[in-house]
Structures are given as structure tokens and as C-alpha cells.
Symmetry: C2
Subunit: 321 residues, 2 copies
């Protein structure tokens, strides 16, 4: 059994190779640039962990993990175009540095290369894994579309928001674990539990992300606290506040959000605290963590094999924070 | 054996089904719109023809042909974004009608659905076909990138141009035939000949396209004659003219291209005729047709089986025109 850092190192060793041809450099160099920006490689490590939960690591898990990481990077490159984002990890995005057409085409070809890595998987597992990968890829695109749709909508209810967040971020975490489990020979029941563990964990992570953007310690958070409030982003916090504040409260919050007063963030945070949104969000995160743990408990392998996944969970979502 | 129209009808019957989920309609409806714009379905028919050259049509040839057609449409949607094209087949392009983000994301998801169709192929052939499909998809992206690079380059030589055109348009025709041949159980030699037949045919078609844009009958051509000259597009004709016109001629042609005089098209055409570019282009097309036929001749099946491919060739490239 290996822990997160060990698997990250194993993956990096394998990932540190040429993924693209040399020419035309105008197409492939921007992709090498983007991959060098780094990242925690959470998804490929989850592929390896899902695999090792059931069996010693199958050599095919490495190309599969590369496929997942390339897919994730493809979505980042294209999302950055759609969001007109100038920076990613403190560096220029691909379209900002090389132009939109190259970023678009580069993302496309990165997706094709992801499938070329998937193709290496043994024929016994290939179709099952392709199915799950395709289904997940479609869902991730659907999540991004819903996210864009929601920006134009006045009201989004909690049910819709959780659905969107699940598609946009959770299903890829869930599928990474399950793809590993398939390669490890897991049965259908165990596969479903590991998938649900990943999905619930992903939602808990997103609740935490929304929470920290509002209530996080600016020193530790790394991003500007209050950014979501400044940009009127629909988050777990805002949606719940609008749903529970009552008619007058809703009016007050809406008018605060629409204003550009200098103390907007401060005022909205005070409003959130007054309604107990901070405590509610901590409890919501706890609820998803408990559900995730429930699914992990149901997986029919010895507890010791589950340790890396429990550690991963604590790494991604800090409890009581 | 079936001819082009029969195979087109068979394909359309299979293609006329839902390829995408209902929801979110904001993502999938634009794709249904685009597919309804139609097209000659040349590539999927080539999948079926490549298959029937060797064997009765394998049922897996239909989902494979759908994958190729969806891939082709994905490239059109994304190319239209890159080229900022407002119209395709006389109708609004996806990005013009639904916005760039949706066109980008819709293209992405269409590519994923193409892979979902490929997944249906029998395990005996799946990896070989995925390999060829992935290789081809990468080449098509490379061709599009080179095409964009060439727009910014002052001089492009004939060798580079033929390389770009092969990647951008010919390899997908060639691969469609070869994917069909793989499903038909063709050996390596036959596969290579059918691939080269498609590739040479594709280049001949592009020479013809460049030729007709300059010298075609406006009544029959369907597009504005002289469009390439108006937009200073690098074509077989222009590149050859610049390479062979001598120092003075090159100067004259360059200054004509850079001008926006009302008789620019007329003057450039006169220049082309004076240098014999029209006759040269007809001969170049003939040369590629002869090479295509040479590869078809080498395929070890009875002549009668080759008839649909010969007819397809005459449909795509008219000789002595």
C-alpha cells in the first residue's frame, strides 16, 4: 500500500515523458508549457488508489492515470478560454499566451492523446473503462455548460447547484477511483461504493471551497477572500442564504449583491453570519464527509487497505475548519 | 456491392437517430441543429466502401461510420470558431448562433460521443481502429494548425503546402477507407494501398477545388469564383506561380496580390493563364488521380469489387475539367 505522496511520486515518474510529437511545435509546445505549470495530480493518484484498494497496482493503471490527467488539463485549457481567464496557477493561460485558436486546437489534440493512452489498457478492461470515461467526459462538459447557463439565470436552486457541481467537479474524482477499481477487478457493488465515496468527497470539497472563499483565513487560503462575493458568484452560501433569508432578508441581500459599495464583502459576510450560513456550511460539509465515509465503510476489503483513501479525504477536506 | 447513393442511404438510415441526451438542451440542441445542416456524408460512405471492398458489410461499420462523421462535424464546428466564419452550408455556424463557449464545448462533447460509437466495435478490431482514428485525429489538428501558421507566413513552398493539405483533408478520407478495410479483414498490404488511394484522391480533390475557385464555371461552382484570389489565400495555383514566375514575374504577381484594384481577380487570372498555371494544375490533378488508380489496381480483390470506389473517384474529381 502506498500513501498519497508515494503515489504522486510514482505517477510523476511515469508522467515525466513526452506526450506529444515535436512538430508542429506551434501546436504542441503550448501543451508542454501548460503541463509544466504543475498541479497536485489528485485525479491520477485517485486512479492508482482505486486500483490499489483491491489489488497490487496494475501496470495499465499508469497510462490510464495519464489519460485522466490529460483529460483534466484539456478541460482547464478550454474552460480558461470560455471564462476569458488570463491566469492559471499564477501563470499565463494557454489562450492568453498563444492565442485562442491554438488553445482551442491544443485542447482538442490533448483529448485525442488522452484516448491514445486509454487504448493501452488490456482488452479485458478496455470497454468498461472507455464507457465510464466517455460518460464522465460528457458529464463534465454538461456541468460546464450548466455553470455558464447559471451565470445568466437570476435564481438557481440548491438542487440544481448541487447537480451542476457534481457534474463539473465530482464525477471525475469519482470516476478516477472507479476506473482504478475496475482494473483491480472490483465487483459491481464495490465499484459503486468507491464511486459514491469520490462523488460525496468532491461535493464536500466544493462546499469547503465556497466556505473558505468567504470565511477562510486570508493567510492560508492563497486566493483573495471574498472573491466569490465580489463577482456575485452563485455558491452554496449565497444560494442557501437566498433560500432561507425570508422575503425582507432576500431583498436586503440582493440589494447588497447588486451594489458596488466598498464594504460589500464585509456587509455580505455579516449578513451570512447573522443567518448562520457559516455554521450551516460547516455542517453541510460534515454531512457529505459522513456520507463519503459511509460508502468507504461498505467496501468489502480490509480496513488497512482503506487507509490511503481516508488520508486522501483528510488531505482534501479538513474537518472542523 | 453497393454504389455511393445506396450506401449514403444506408448510412443516413442509421445516422438518423438521437446521438445526444436531451439535457442540458443548451449544450445538445446546437449539435442537433448543426447535424441537420446536412452534408454529402462522403467519409462515412468511405468507411462502408472500404469495408465492402473486402467483405459483406460488418454491422460494426455503421457505428464506426457515425464516429467518423461526428468527428468530421466536430472539426467543422471548431474550425468555424477559429476562422470566425459566420456561415456554413448557407446557414449560421454554431458559434454565430449560440455563442463561442457553447460551440467550443459542443464540439468537445461531440468528439467524446464519436469515441462512444467507436467503443461499440468488436474487441478483435477495436485497438487497431482506435490507433488509426487517434493518429488521424492528431494529424487533422496538426493540419489545421499548419494552415493557420501559413496564413502568417510570407512564403510557403509547395512541399509544405501539400503536407498541410494532406493532414487537413486527405488523411481522414484515407483513414475512413482503411478503417473499413480493417473491419473487412484486409491484410497490411491491401490496407496500405486503400489508404494511399484515399490520400491521393484527397489531394487531387484539393487541387481541383483550388483550380475551380479560379477557373471554374461560376454557374456550376456554387461559390464566388476568385474568392481565394480576393482573400490572398495560398493555394496550389498561387504557390506554383510564385515558385516558377521568375524574379520579375514574382514581383508583378506579389504587387497584384497586395493591391485592392477592382480588376484584381481578372489580372491575376490573366497572369496565371500566361504562365500556364491552369494547364499545370489540370496535369497535377491528373497525376494524383493516376497515382490513386495505381494503388487501387494493386489491391488484391476482383475488379468488380472496386467499381464503387472508381465511381466515387469520378464523383469527387471530374477528369478533363
Amino acid at each position: 500500500m502506498h500513501n498519497f505522496l508515494e503515489l504522486q511520486e510514482k505517477f510523476d515518474e511515469f508522467f515525466h515523458q513526452k506526450h506529444f510529437p515535436e512538430q508542429p511545435a506551434s501546436l504542441y509546445e503550448p501543451l508542454n508549457y501548460f503541463l509544466k505549470l504543475g498541479g497536485k495530480r489528485v485525479r491520477p493518484v485517485m486512479c492508482l488508489m482505486g486500483n490499489e484498494l483491491f489489488e497490487e497496482i496494475n501496470p495499465d493503471a499508469y497510462p490510464m492515470a495519464v489519460a485522466v490527467e490529460l483529460f483534466h488539463n484539456f478541460t482547464l485549457i478550454h474552460d480558461d478560454i470560455m471564462d476569458k481567464a488570463p491566469l492559471r496557477r499564477g501563470m499565463s493561460t494557454v489562450h492568453a499566451k498563444y492565442g485562442e485558436p491554438t488553445a482551442l486546437l491544443g485542447g482538442d489534440v490533448m483529448l485525442v492523446v488522452a484516448y491514445e493512452y486509454l487504448k493501452r489498457i488490456d482488452g479485458r478492461y478496455l470497454k468498461k473503462i472507455l464507457s465510464l470515461f466517455n460518460q464522465t467526459a460528457m458529464e463534465v462538459c454538461e456541468g460546464q455548460q450548466l455553470d455558464m447557463d447559471f451565470e445568466k439565470k437570476e435564481m438557481v436552486d440548491m438542487h440544481e447547484y448541487i447537480h451542476m457541481i457534481s457534474l463539473k467537479t465530482s464525477v471525475l474524482l469519482a470516476a478516477s477511483l472507479r476506473m482504478g477499481a475496475i482494473l483491480g477487478g472490483a465487483g459491481e457493488g464495490n465499484q459503486q461504493h468507491i464511486y459514491q465515496f469520490g462523488k460525496k468527497l468532491g461535493i464536500a470539497f466544493q462546499v469547503q471551497d465556497d466556505y473558505l472563499d468567504a470565511f477562510g483565513d486570508p493567510e492560508k487560503f492563497g486566493k483573495q477572500v471574498g472573491g466569490d462575493i465580489m463577482s456575485n458568484k452563485k455558491t452554496f452560501l449565497l444560494i442557501h442564504a437566498l433560500e432561507t433569508a425570508g422575503k425582507e432578508g432576500k431583498k436586503e441581500l440582493t440589494s447588497l449583491m447588486e451594489s458596488d459599495r466598498p464594504d460589500k464583502v464585509e456587509k455580505v459576510l455579516a449578513f451570512f453570519r447573522q443567518c448562520g450560513i457559516d455554521a450551516w456550511a460547516r455542517e453541510l460539509k460534515e454531512k457529505y464527509i459522513r456520507e463519503a465515509i459511509g460508502h468507504l465503510d461498505e467496501i468489502a476489503v480490509t480496513s488497512v487497505r482503506k487507509k490511503p483513501l481516508t488520508d486522501l479525504m483528510h488531505y482534501l477536506v479538513q474537518r472542523d475548519k
